[in-house]
Symmetry: C2
Subunit: 526 residues, 2 copies
Amino acid sequence: MTSQPVLINGQWRTSTGTETFQAINPATRETLPEVFPVSPWSEVEEALVAAAAAFKIVRSFTGNRFADFLNAYAAEIELRIDDIVSAAHLETGYPVSPRLKDGEMVRTLDQLRQAANAARNCAWTVPTIDSATNIRSMLGPIGPVAVFGPNNFPLAFNSISGGDFAAAIAAGNPVIAKGHSAHPRTTQIFAEAAQHACETTGMPDGFVQLIYRTSHEDGAKLVSHPKLGASGYTGSRHAGLFLKEAADKSGTPIYLELSSINPVFILPGALEERLEEIVDEFTGSCLMGTGQFCTNPGLVVLPSGEKAEAFTTAVAEKFAAAPAGTLLGEGVERSLRAGIVAIQQTGAHVVTGNQPVDPSRCCHANTLLRATGKSFLENPTGHQAEAFGNASLMIVAESDEEMLAITEHLEGNLTGCIYSDTNGSDDVLYDQIAEELIQHVGRLLNDKMPTGVAVSPAMNHGGPYPATGHPGFTAVGIPASLRRFATLDCYDNVRENRLPPVLRNENPCEGLARDIDGKMTTGNVE
Amino acid sequence: MTSQPVLINGQWRTSTGTETFQAINPATRETLPEVFPVSPWSEVEEALVAAAAAFKIVRSFTGNRFADFLNAYAAEIELRIDDIVSAAHLETGYPVSPRLKDGEMVRTLDQLRQAANAARNCAWTVPTIDSATNIRSMLGPIGPVAVFGPNNFPLAFNSISGGDFAAAIAAGNPVIAKGHSAHPRTTQIFAEAAQHACETTGMPDGFVQLIYRTSHEDGAKLVSHPKLGASGYTGSRHAGLFLKEAADKSGTPIYLELSSINPVFILPGALEERLEEIVDEFTGSCLMGTGQFCTNPGLVVLPSGEKAEAFTTAVAEKFAAAPAGTLLGEGVERSLRAGIVAIQQTGAHVVTGNQPVDPSRCCHANTLLRATGKSFLENPTGHQAEAFGNASLMIVAESDEEMLAITEHLEGNLTGCIYSDTNGSDDVLYDQIAEELIQHVGRLLNDKMPTGVAVSPAMNHGGPYPATGHPGFTAVGIPASLRRFATLDCYDNVRENRLPPVLRNENPCEGLARDIDGKMTTGNVE
């Protein structure tokens, strides 16, 4: 059977690889018909050469060119929405509506268009001008970017349409997309639309390329190759750390989103004040998308007592009553079960769930585990094992001190939430926990579950290791996410006509604030 | 003999280490009298514990507290200028005046005071507020920072008074200074002043600490320790990469400044137009401080022909006529000689210099090497061996294409310079070389040598690997250098009274520009 073509250097062509793979439909466990190639190193290297050549050409483009491409691409996607969501439905088991068509697709288009605006208005370049010394600096494109997309957002974090892709392109970099093996057909349709948009907007061959799969070793060679500027990776910790080691050795930036259990602290007053409301929010957040969100609340800490028992009972009832959603695939199903076993081995017990539900599809019962604060503190690492999917662990703490000690032993996470009462009785404890918690998370929430990740300029979808590889960058939020794919470029005594437009005396972008002699201004250099 | 005390947790105390070392005076090769300890791991760990405790306390401080400390520290240093420059003179061989007293000391004080201003005005925190979603983010302190200072700037890059120190403190982080073994007494006096300033401004014990030396293994344990927020390292590539590997494995940011040969391209028209002027500038830049600057021009590329011969002759005469300066120590002397040998082995020949001059002090003749462009392209890595000190390599290229090919084969550098004529005859070649060169350097200069590194907000003292470990950050320039020692902290739906002051509705700092709903404004949230 002929395998599907790869997109290299502007051409859809047959892969030279001999290995192939097929996706499965997790809702039926059936193998899907299309056969996709595993690209050999020679093919990855061709993509690198083409991307480097494309970068030479696009380096002289202004932001408007990247904006035009991103907008054209969004319009191309709109023409193929039904194809894309149908393919993604088959490959992920996510419902077409509302999840794919009304949720992710809307977000995907919005991200691409926000990125287009960012490319056009140039604020991400942070132009800084010291007129007395005639030294001027800005962020500029870093070079070809490899994007490794995750399994859990086939559209909004897809390697060729998602947040990393949009950010890398808006910053002026060619992208080599390494599609996730769980949704190759979805990725392929996006790539067809992207290549078409490249042609209609005059982007060079090699500006956007797609391979579906490589060996781990070739992935490591890709992220550490001298022609590569940077990589973005979202996925499992194990595979991510393998790539990180190679990239780090070569001094090539790699931005990773690895794992996060997103602790939620419920303080005594809040539990007293609005138990039912919090039960509803927590259950909804845990089970949404079958728990397959990076920001899924996998750990909830609350004080022992009658209310903790009531919370346990109420959440357990809701977990048992809710249908067990379909998981993304057999790998996710296996690792969820293994994660639950790992947590159990630390002394946690299963309150509800943890059994097979329907062998005809990938799934597992909604699972609530419970352990004591003492148990957590005896083995903090064990209790923080990730069980990606519809499972969460409750920790019941005996005292405020124990809650605080738990906070101190948290690994790096994307988010951390604190629910406190509205009358001030939780305020002292809040301050203690919050001050510690912010050091372990990228985003601190009040009275709100972590699963909505707004594409806001103020968002941080990042956090300390091992949630990510560097706590100073975010994967979501425009323009901040573009800064990952940038170098700081400084021009010292460079003649004005040779400067990039945003550093010249006259401000080329309406409304662009530049730091001129220590003041932010939209004006010109005097 | 009793060894000098270390500064741990607010106390000057005897080290528990049994190994010791002494500095030498490179101008006489005499061993200096003071004996300094090598700290064992237990001592480093105590410093980590104290720094973590100090961080807990200072996290609630506003920027004004750090500014007060930095200003008080600068004032304390001013009281001891003569002690400091005398010690540095003995330990480095640099002249008291102008180098130490009128150069580095002035820069050091200016950096500390600029950092104080940055701590006070909070611009480095980049506050970003999305009022519709009530998501707010800013850069916040990353936690205790270990600073490893280099040998070549005993004051302005000293681990306890230099650029990394000032940046880490201004961003609100405790510092563990690992002094350079070549100038321990200089570092000790700074630390005495710093500790005094801590006391007068009410900073907690452990906010500023000093150890003089550790084993390489303990250095690696320090930069990868869970209590550490980040490290700053300036020094040799070999030792830096050893630390980088450990830090990378632990996911702890490390900012490195490793090595750079700072290529200078002289285009044909410039050589024709102002040969003598360029000879003077180049010679001055090469020999200043005995060539011991991170931005010393170690490689100059120019077109073959009569003018190249005239350039060679003129530079060689000046190199031969200038006294050979004293090098920083016997290690620098050895590695300079080894670097010259390595360059010779690639086929370069010595035009002048490369002999011992005065055995009574650390020094080596001013050395000019020369090779062809063809030779460079046959072994680019070999020709880019660093010979840190008063030696430079000329590459004579046969054609514009060869100059461009040389540019393409450059490793990452801090700087790259292009001299071009004023009449436009070099413009086509300039454009080709500049577009390539900016991808290999942090700072591109026109018609100017790279050795002045102004402390300007627009400066980039950084660049692609192996010049540094990440091309997005600068070690010089305030406030940009503070951003290395920061995490992105996001507050989602956090009650207003619980927000850090810069994220509250009312702008707490006069003149602080904040991004509110996509617009930079010094006003309040409406």
